[in-house]
Every structure is written in structure tokens, then in C-alpha cells.
């Protein structure tokens, strides 16, 4: 009975196991950070230490920011992610509302289309989308990075599911108050579905910030590259063996999402796994 107050040996084992697996998981991050602080001599030296003898952080990060347009890449990522997210919500929320709350001919067919869209791996579509972008003459512009993602089947699905949980009476009351359907969507449903909006936003931003496949196809000029493509280009042309600045650049690319994750862990876990659960 009194044993409860002491730390049980199994609890120690649990912590030991989880701390070691957690450490292993974090090794790439730590190594990346560690190299980004070291001068080339230490990186290529035989001895190993986590922290540098001579701090070289300023030089490395400075080079990362100047010799590659890293800030430009990140601004590109921000612009593209924001545009995609805004357009997705603008398109998907009304559609989700119509599918959840309105009765009309063709609703089931449309929902079936959404479900099929949900199953399609996006990379399969890349070739026709590339051709479409070529025809529209928008390849190698921001538009090329954005247009394939303007509509998200997952977004429509998620909004529909969430709107369905809002009682019909809310919609009826709003109609009696004289709100047109479009205002019901934006002024009643979306604010009430804020958790779904947040979850979807995280899902969308994380996916598109991290995406390499489509930007690789859609843009060539350096000033349009989002972070993953940019850092790849940086590595290929520049760094070769110059690990310090490269790791500094990698750290800077990974940092925004990791910081956001630390700040809003629960939302990230929900947004990123909810995407799979549904």
C-alpha cells in the first residue's frame, strides 16, 4: 500500500526506455544543430564533440542567409502556404456546408466525387497538371505552385463532417433572422467550426511547407523556390562539402514548424493525424 509513494522500478525502466528512444529520435536534429555551430576544421576533424570549441555560428548562419536567398525561400513558402490555405478554405467551407446542411439533387454524387478525390495520390496527377500549367502559361510562377491545391477534397470532407455535428436548428434560426446562405457559412458555421478550421490549417500549411515533389516540377527560378526546393538547390550548387552553412540553412528551414509545434502541440497532433483518421 505504501509502495505507491516511492518510484517503482518499472517506472524507472519506462523513463529509461523512453528517454533513450527519444534521444535516438532527436539525434538528427541535434547533429544538424551541432554542425551548424562549428567551423569547417572541427567538422572535418577526427575528434567528436557536441558543442564547438570555436563558435562559428555567426559565420555559418550568415553564409546560409547570404550565399543562398534563404529568406527569400522562406518568404516564398509563406506566400504559397498562405495563398493555398486561404483559397482552400474559401472553396471548401461553402461546399462542406452545402453537403452537410442542404438537400439538393446531385448531393450524393458530389460527395462520392469528394471521397474519390480523397483517395487519389496527388503525385499521379502531376503530369496532366504540369501540362495544364504549361497551357495556361503559368509555369515558373507562384500561380504554378498554388493552383493544383486550390480545392482540397480532405478540406471539403472535414468541413462537412464538422458542420454535420452542428444542430440544424442553428441554421434554421439564422435563416429566420434573414441571413442568406453564404452569410450562414461565414458568419455562423465557420466560427462554430473553429477547431476544424485550425486542424485543417495546420494540416494544410505543414503539408505544403514540406512539399518537394510539386515545386520541383512547377518552378525553376531560384527566386520562386519554396524552402525544401531551395535548400536542395543550395546543397547541390553550393555546399558540396561546406557543411556548416548547409546545416545552418537546414536548421532555419525546419525551425518555424518545430517552434509552432512546441507552442501548439495538441493542435498539431490533432491536425496531422486527424487527416489520416477520417
Amino acid at each position: 500500500m505504501s509502495a505507491r509513494h516511492f518510484v517503482h522500478p518499472t517506472a524507472i525502466l519506462r523513463h529509461a526506455a523512453l528517454l533513450s528512444s527519444g534521444t535516438l529520435i532527436l539525434v538528427p536534429f541535434v547533429w544538424m544543430l551541432s554542425l551548424s555551430l562549428k567551423p569547417p576544421g572541427e567538422i572535418f576533424g577526427a575528434s567528436f564533440s557536441l558543442l564547438p570549441h570555436h563558435w562559428y555560428a555567426v559565420e555559418n548562419y550568415q553564409r546560409a542567409l547570404t550565399s543562398a536567398p534563404l529568406l527569400r525561400y522562406m518568404a516564398n513558402g509563406l506566400i504559397v502556404c498562405a495563398a493555398i490555405l486561404a483559397l482552400q478554405i474559401a472553396v471548401c467551407a461553402p461546399a462542406g456546408y452545402a453537403l452537410a446542411k442542404l438537400r439538393f439533387k446531385g448531393r450524393d454524387v458530389i460527395f462520392a466525387l469528394v471521397l474519390i478525390g480523397l483517395l487519389l495520390p496527388h503525385q499521379v496527377l502531376s503530369l496532366p497538371l504540369f501540362i495544364l500549367g504549361y497551357q495556361l502559361n503559368i509555369l515558373n510562377t507562384y500561380a504554378a505552385l498554388i493552383f493544383p491545391y486550390v480545392v482540397s477534397p480532405f478540406g471539403i470532407f472535414l468541413f462537412r463532417q464538422f458542420f454535420k455535428t452542428i444542430p440544424d436548428d442553428v441554421v434554421h434560426a439564422a435563416r429566420l433572422d434573414g441571413l442568406p446562405e453564404i452569410s450562414i457559412v461565414w458568419r455562423i458555421m465557420v466560427p462554430m467550426a473553429l477547431p476544424a478550421v485550425i486542424a485543417f490549417s495546420i494540416f494544410s500549411v505543414v503539408s505544403h511547407w514540406n512539399d518537394l515533389f510539386w515545386p520541383l516540377i512547377a518552378v525553376r527560378s531560384e527566386e520562386l523556390m519554396p524552402p525544401p526546393l531551395g535548400i536542395m538547390a543550395f546543397r547541390n550548387e553550393e555546399a558540396g562539402n561546406d557543411y556548416g552553412p548547409l546545416m545552418a540553412a537546414a536548421t532555419l528551414v525546419v525551425l518555424p514548424l518545430v517552434l509552432a509545434f512546441v507552442a501548439a502541440q495538441r493542435w498539431f497532433v490533432e491536425g496531422l493525424t486527424g487527416g489520416a483518421v477520417k
Binding site: 523512453l18 527519444g22 539525434v27 461553402p94 483517395l119 499521379v124 518537394l212 528551414v253
Partner: protein, 299 residues
Amino acid sequence: MKNRRLRSNRLMETLAAWVLVGPAVALLVVLFFVPVGAVFLIALTDWQFGARTLNFIGLANFREVFSDPGFRASLANTVIYVLIVVPGTVLAGLLVALLIESGKSLRTFYRAIHFVPFMATLTAMAIAWEALLHPTIGLVNQTLGALGLPTANWLRDEATVLPVLAAIGIWQNLGFSMVLFLAGLKSIPRDLYDAADIDGADSWLDRLRTVTLPMLGPVTMFVVIVVALRAFEAFDTVKVLTQGGPGHASEVLLFTLYRESFEYLRTGYGAAVAVVFLVIVMVLTLSQARVMDNRVHYQ
């Protein structure tokens, strides 16, 4: 009169619905369904990007794809990759989830640590992995060397490159399966463990066998399929670290699709690869729906 009002109300509702859903439907058709149809069509032609003419050549592209040793290697590599990543991710995720759930302290902390790789930009992390795996200055070889164990040029050796990429895949997806398992564990009613205690299944192994694992059945099935889908879509690490090499040793389907379509501009061939890829993914997804409906749902 009343009937007419009703009918006009109906009409208004339909009209409003189409106004709301119209843009989404139009975009879905243009950005999803037309392209899918186009992929199938292109796969049946000899069209090359930029060419003015095209001829239907039946299944010739598919014949070429399947007789191409490069593609066969790619398909085999993908399967091997998936067969390593899926069990690795599922087991590791389950183990970590069980460990986290077996105690009360620091749960969110451990969950966070294990989840970070899932959302970190994989392209950047691949570069970090490259540094770790560097044959001379990488931490991996330095550690192995210090322990007196054999070292390798991990990403340049045909024998090691695919398992190493798979290990990175497990590293990235483990947190994801862990979170799903944690949710699964949370939903197991406490009463069942109490009943197991009273029935005499009270060692951790018996509890695991009697309650935990069977109750995780549906989640496990789900995790397997979702992780398999993610593993089939592996691309970033291959593109950054190996370009499919050495030889074809680390070429996977999506990389082949990319290279044939957009680097070699073999459009018909690329489309055929896309169709094969699509079929595999669809079969997997549909089998998931099938299995979930039939077997693992207890209630």
C-alpha cells in the same frame, strides 16, 4: 398553393446549394478528375511532351514499363522499402505508445519528442541524415568505429542504401503511428482491465494478450494501411540523398515517375508508371475499407 411554395422553396435550396458547391465541384473536375482521365489516356499514346502529334499505341507503354529492368527494380525496391517501413513503424510506434501509456508522468513530453520528425521538413532533415551517415565524418560511422564495429558508406553501397532509407522512413513515421496507437489505447475501457484482473489475466503479458492487443486490432489495421500508403509515396529522401542510386539500388516508384516524366520527358512511359502507382495505392486503400468493414470491428 402551399405545394407550390414548397416546391419553390426546394428550388431555392437547390439553387443556393449549387452556388455554394459549384466552385468546388468545378475545381475538383478540372484539377482531379480530368487529370486522372488524362493520365490514363496519355499512358495509351506515344505522345512526348511538346510534340505536335500523338498516336494511340494501346498497351505498348505498359509492356515497355514492365519489361524495363529499371522499372522492375524500382517496383521491387518500393515493395522491399514498404515491407521494412511498415512493420518497423507499426511495431516501434506501438511499443513507444505502450511505454508512454504505462505511466502517468511526462506523457506529453515523450509524445512530443517522438512526433517531431513527422512534421519536420523531410528535405532538410534528409540533409542532416546525410551528414550523420557521412562515411568519414558522420556520427554513425564514428560511433561504430569507436565501438570497433564495421563501418560502411551507407548511401553509396547497394546493400545498405535501401535499408538506410527505410530506417529514415521509420524514423519519420514512428511518431505518427504512436499517436494513433495512443488514441487507440485511450479508448480501451478501464473495466476490461479490471475484468481481466479478476479473471486472473493480471500479469502484464496476459493483460496485453487478453485486452490491449485485441482491442487495438482495428487501430493496428488502420495504421498498417496508412503507413503503407505513406511508404509507397516515399520520394524526398531518395531525391535528396541518392537520386535512385547507386545503380538502381534505391530507385522507388515515385522517383521513377518523376524522372521519366519530368527529367527524361518520356511522357507516355511516365503516365504508364503513374497508372501502375495509382492502381497499387487504390487497391491498398480499398482493401483497407474492406478489412475495416468486415473483420476487425467487434461491435
